[in-house]
Every structure is written in C-alpha cells, then in structure tokens.
Amino acid sequence: MSIGTEPAVGAKRNYLQALNEALHEEMESNPDMICLGEDIGLLGGAFGVTEGLLARFGSDRVIDTPISESLIVGAAVGMALEGRTVMAEMQFMDFISCGFDQIVNNLATFHYRSAGEVNMPVVIRGPAGAYGGGALYHSQMNEAWFCHSPGLKVVCPSRPYDAKGLLKAALRDGNPVVFFEIKELYRRRELEEAVPGPDEIVPIGKAAVRREGRDVTLISYGQNIYHCLAAAEKLQSEGIDAEVLDLRTLVPLDEEAIWESLAKTNRVVVVNEAPRTCGFAGEVLARIAEKGFEYLDAPPARVTRLDTPVPWVKPLESYVLPDVEKVAAACRKVCRY
C-alpha cells in the first residue's frame, strides 16, 4: 500500500465520486466489510455516495436499515466485535445526535475498555455543513462533540483527492473514525481532480498546506478552506500574503504543521463554521496559546459561526456564518496588530 499525497494520474472525480469509489474499492478488497445506513441500498444514499454498492455486493453486506441511528451505531459495534469493518452512514450528520450515546460511550471506548482486545474499525460518515440553506437540521458541523470524546478519530476532507484517500485510510485504520463530508462540495465541478488509486490512501493525522504565504496563517478545514483561499487572494492585492493550512484530520491533530507555518508567519486566524464556544477553532487557539505563544506577534483570532443555530433563509444564514469578507477582515486586523 503506497501513500499518495499528490494527485494520481487518472480520470477526474468530484468529491462524491471519490467517496463512492473509495467505498467500492474497500468493499471489494475487504470481504469482511459491511455498510449500514438509511436508504443506502436501493436508493444508493440520499446523495448517492453509496450508489452501486447494493447491486455489486448484495443486500447482505449493504443494509438498508430502519430509521434508527442508535441501532445503526450499536449494530456496527456488534459487527466490529464479531470481526467486521463497518461503514455506517448518517443520512445527515445532524442526525448523529440520535445515535450519540452509542458513539461516545460504546464505540469510542471499546478498545480502551477491552484493554486492547477489541478493535473497532467503524467509520461513521455522512454529509455535513452549512451554506446550502439546509437550516437548523441539515447544516450542522458538530465535529467538536466527537473531538471531545476520547477514542474517536475525526476527519474532514475538503477535496476529492483527500475524500477518497482519507475514507480509505479511515476504513483501514482499525479505530472508530467520525468522517465529516461536506455536502456542498459533493458535486462542485471546479474541484474535480484525479484521486488516489485502489492501493493508495491519504494518511490520517496529516495537514496540508493549500497555499503558501508569509504574513499570516489561515487554519481551517472542510468548506471554510475555500473561504480562506478566496480571502487570501483578496488579501494578496492588499499586500498581505496568507498561508492556508488544511487540517484534514482534527483528531489526532497535526500540530507540527501548525508550528511550521507559525514559525514563518507569526500570525494566525482559525476559521470554522461550527458554533464558536467549545468549537474546534477554540481548541486550535488554545493549543497555540499554550505551546505556540512564542511564535505569535499578534493575538490569534478565530472566525466562526455565531453561537446560534443555523437559520434558514439566506440573509440570516449568511449572517451567522464565516465568509470570505469576515475571514479577510480578521486577517487584516491580525496583520495590523
């Protein structure tokens, strides 16, 4: 198994196709793998991430479950205990709250409780994120709940290459991984790119520099990466040269990558669409304050959702979420310090 970090040569894929391909390949190569979720079989998933799996692998291994998120996770735990690798889809990551106990108290802690006897190769994945007018229950980025629950790895790819490579890595990791897909990126044309081959993965726990810069580091992941990149473009013309770091994995966090960038820029803005209080942006700020204090020439800043739910109609939704201008403004302030 080789680990690719650069796009492989091959047909271009969008984010959704990349995920779909990863599932097909892993189901093919791992006969012990089972997929569980609502409407993942006959329908192929609400968005089509599981398209074609049922026809190819049969209803024994591709299960259209009842509407029972706690059952989905609990059954995944049972299957993993029996020796399976499980992909469990949440139709929207918002509904993960309905399977919450099984994730944080059962799945996450199993390896710990069993003193290393039992691995839990279970990936809980599904579409997440706002900006699409999904309102309160089809917009959440609730990754922080899981980052705060020891025993879970937490992953969030921002592009097709990573989507495929990280999903494959997650399915081979042997640990429970909560995998946040950005539904607004699923079919975004301009992101199409060649993706890793069947034997390649993108390693969990490694961040990636998306844009090099010297004046300020923008740290983010998921959809906000594109707000950061656009803000960086904007700032360039104002004489601010921003670096953009895509964390890709939240737990375990690639702190080295942060220090490397901060050593260069000495200024940092963390961007994240989740609510502000106790969100992952705050965690990054905390680590920087604790361990990266010496690098800083200015207070670190974060741009996050307000501490509100995500409201429905566009002007309200925009009001509470980070956007290019909010990111640029934060950078300006940090650089002016």
């Binding site: 409407d39 479950t65 709250s97 109609v313 309200l316």
Partner: protein
C-alpha cells in the same frame, strides 16, 4: 380489497363502534361537503407548491402529500380547536386544515392561515417562525401546533409531555401526532408511546403508512405487516384505516380521539396509503430506481378525492353532476389545472401565495435574536 386498504389484521381494526354507528354517520351534510372541499384544498395547495418549486420560486425540499390527503383531512376533522397536533414533513396542509372544520375562512378559527403557511414556505418574516427553520418546522403554542425538529419521531415524547400537562390542568384536550411508518422504528417513538401508555395519556398516534420511508420499503423497517401492530406491545388499541378513504380515516381516528378524551389512554391508527411521487421533489427522478411504475400506478389508483365523491353521491349529499363539477382526481401535478378545483380553493391558496410573495424577508440581524429568552428581547 387491495393490499393498501383497510384490513382487520389486528382485532381493533374491525369497526369498534358497531357497523351502523360509525362516527362519520353522525356528520351533517355540510360536514361532508366541507371534507371534500378540504381534500380539494390539500390537493390544490400541493399542486401549487410543486409548480412554484419547478419554477424555481422556492428553496428547500418539497415533500408532497399528494394521494395522502385523506389521512390529513380525515384525522384532523375529528379534533377540537383546543387539541394539539404535531405534523411532520409531509403534512404541510395540516397547518391550515387544523381547526378548519367549520370552514377554513371561519373567523373564529385559531389554526394557521394560508398566509402564515405560505409566508413560511416562501421564507418570509410573516412566517410564524420568521423563517428561521424551514417548511413544516413551524408551530404555535396559541394554535396548539407543535414546532417539530427534523429528527423523526422526536415529537412523540413531546406530545406525551403536552398530553400529561394538559390532563393535569383538568383539560380534556388531546394530542394527535403524525408519523410516517418508517419513523416508528426510532427509539423516541417507543419511549414516548410507552410513557403515554403507562400514564394512559390522551394521545393519538396517526401513522401515515405510505409504504416507503424515502427509499426503504415497509418490510425493511417494520417486522409486522401492519405498523398498527406496534400498539400491541403497549397493550393499547392499534387500528388500521384505509388511508385513501377519508371517512374510514375519520371514523378510526375519531374513535381514538373519543377514547383518549374519555380518559382511556393512547392509541395508534395506521392509515394505509401510498406516496405519489419521490420522497421529496429532489427524489422524483431517482424514485424510479426503487419503485416500479406498476407499483406506483397501483398505489395511486384509488384517489382519495374520487373515493370521497363516490361516498357523497351514495349518501345523496352530492348529485353525480355536482360531484363531476371539479375533477382533479387521478391527475398529476403537471396535468391538473386551476379549473379542476373549486374557485374558493384556488382563491384561498392564491391569497396565501400572493401574500407570501409580497411579504418582506426577515432582516439579517434577526439571525442573532432569540437564542435565549431575555427581558426586553425583540418581539416578533
């Protein structure tokens, strides 16, 4: 009898009132006409939304209630204004049909107006929820409609809480919940119904069994042929109604309402129907992946409007000519025209739509309001 229609698989699904004393026999001719009109209204409203959505005027997903109108109309018709309802995604017409028994223009009703409902759908500030959440996620304490979340069946514990609280005040108001058959698999359905049964709470659980939960068929979500059999686990009556026959729905649900109001506790009524289109409009094309055209045709064969008309003609409430005056039945949204509906139905919906279109959006800053209740907070 088709596999979709009423059955006596559960003992309670036989008419519990004795053959000739069904609640619907007690209705007045005006009520019968009102019921047909409400079917027209529910159908027309749905059609109108489908058209608006196709034209790109609406955001969000439209969960059509086409072919399932008899469940809504029949279930709601037996309620009193003081009773509570908790509609779900597919029950949009329930918001203006609640408490519309004496006509949806009755000045004394407390149910939502078409203006309020359309303002919500168009995302306008005049929505009862000021368009903070989408589509069916509105409610009103005053109007006794529960504000639901997306999480299916999570209204069931809420309904139990309301029912408990109402009874404790000495009120005999009841709470009627709607759920799709697929949603009955959720733990919240069980926890809510179990508590309601333990305390004999005045609650009626109406299950809209349209045979599909998104792309998952009944048999992958429910182990028994009838969802109403879930009631047996709680020792409460589980009735099965022909969801295409508004009077059968009315009869069964009304029996449950009376049962609850008399203090006998909760019940389940499964109304067997069929989803006409995709799960939501985004699914209209994909739905053919999992449902054959034959199945869909069979499921839509018994249009609830047609069945209601037949009954009214039989009863002598309408002449054949009167019944034939408006004929939306059997037509899909793209085929049907305004002329297929009574003018008052069209006018009412038009008032709502035009109000919504002319209404302003909420101001962006509202997004930060009402996270917490505070003294001096803005009043909507």
């Amino acid at each position: 009898m088709s596999s979709l229609s009423a059955t006596s698989a559960t003992p309670e699904s036989a008419e519990p009132w004795g053959a000739d004393q069904s609640p619907s026999r007690l209705l007045a001719p005006d009520d019968y006409r009102e019921i047909l009109n409400q079917l027209f209204l529910a159908r027309y409203f749905d059609v109108r939304l489908i058209k608006e959505k196709k034209r790109g005027h609406l955001r969000g997903t439209l969960y059509s209630s086409h072919n399932q109108e008899a469940v809504l109309v029949g279930a709601l018709f037996g309620l009193e204004p003081k009773d509570w309802i908790s509609p779900i995604h597919r029950d949009m017409p329930a918001f203006f049909l609640k408490d519309a028994k004496r006509g949806w223009r009755n000045p004394e009703r407390i149910g939502m107006s078409i203006q309020e409902v359309c303002a919500q759908i168009w995302g306008k500030a005049a929505s009862p929820g000021r368009a903070r959440d989408n589509w069916s996620h509105i409610g009103s304490r005053k109007k006794r409609i529960v504000h639901s979340t997306s999480m299916l069946a999570s209204t069931v514990p809420v309904a139990a809480g309301i029912a408990y609280s109402e009874r404790l005040r000495g009120s005999n108001a009841i709470v009627l919940t709607f759920n799709g058959e697929g949603s009955t698999a959720r733990g919240d359905f069980h926890e809510g119904l179990n508590f309601a049964a333990v305390h004999k709470l005045p609650m009626v659980s109406v299950i809209e069994n349209n045979m599909w939960a998104y792309g998952t068929p009944l048999e992958l979500g429910c182990p028994t042929p009838f969802v109403a059999e879930r009631a047996k686990g709680y020792g409460i009556p589980g009735l099965v109604a022909d969801g295409q026959d508004v009077f059968d729905v009315y009869d069964k649900v009304k029996w449950c309402i009376d049962y609850a109001r008399a203090g006998n506790g909760p019940t389940v009524v499964e109304c067997r129907t069929y989803r006409a289109y995709g799960h939501g409009d985004h699914d209209d094309d994909r739905a053919s992946k999992y449902r054959s055209p034959e199945e869909v045709a069979e499921g839509r064969r018994r249009d609830p409007i047609a069945i209601c008309k037949e009954r009214l003609v039989e009863l002598g409430v309408l002449t054949r000519d009167e019944a034939d005056q408006f004929q939306p039945e059997g037509k899909s949204a793209s085929e049907v025209r305004d002329e297929d509906f009574p003018p008052d139905v069209v006018a009412y919906v038009r008032e709502g739509v035009q109000f919504a279109i002319r209404s302003p959006y909420p101001d962006a800053e509202e997004a930060a309001w009402w996270v917490f209740h505070e003294e001096g907070e803005p009043q909507p």
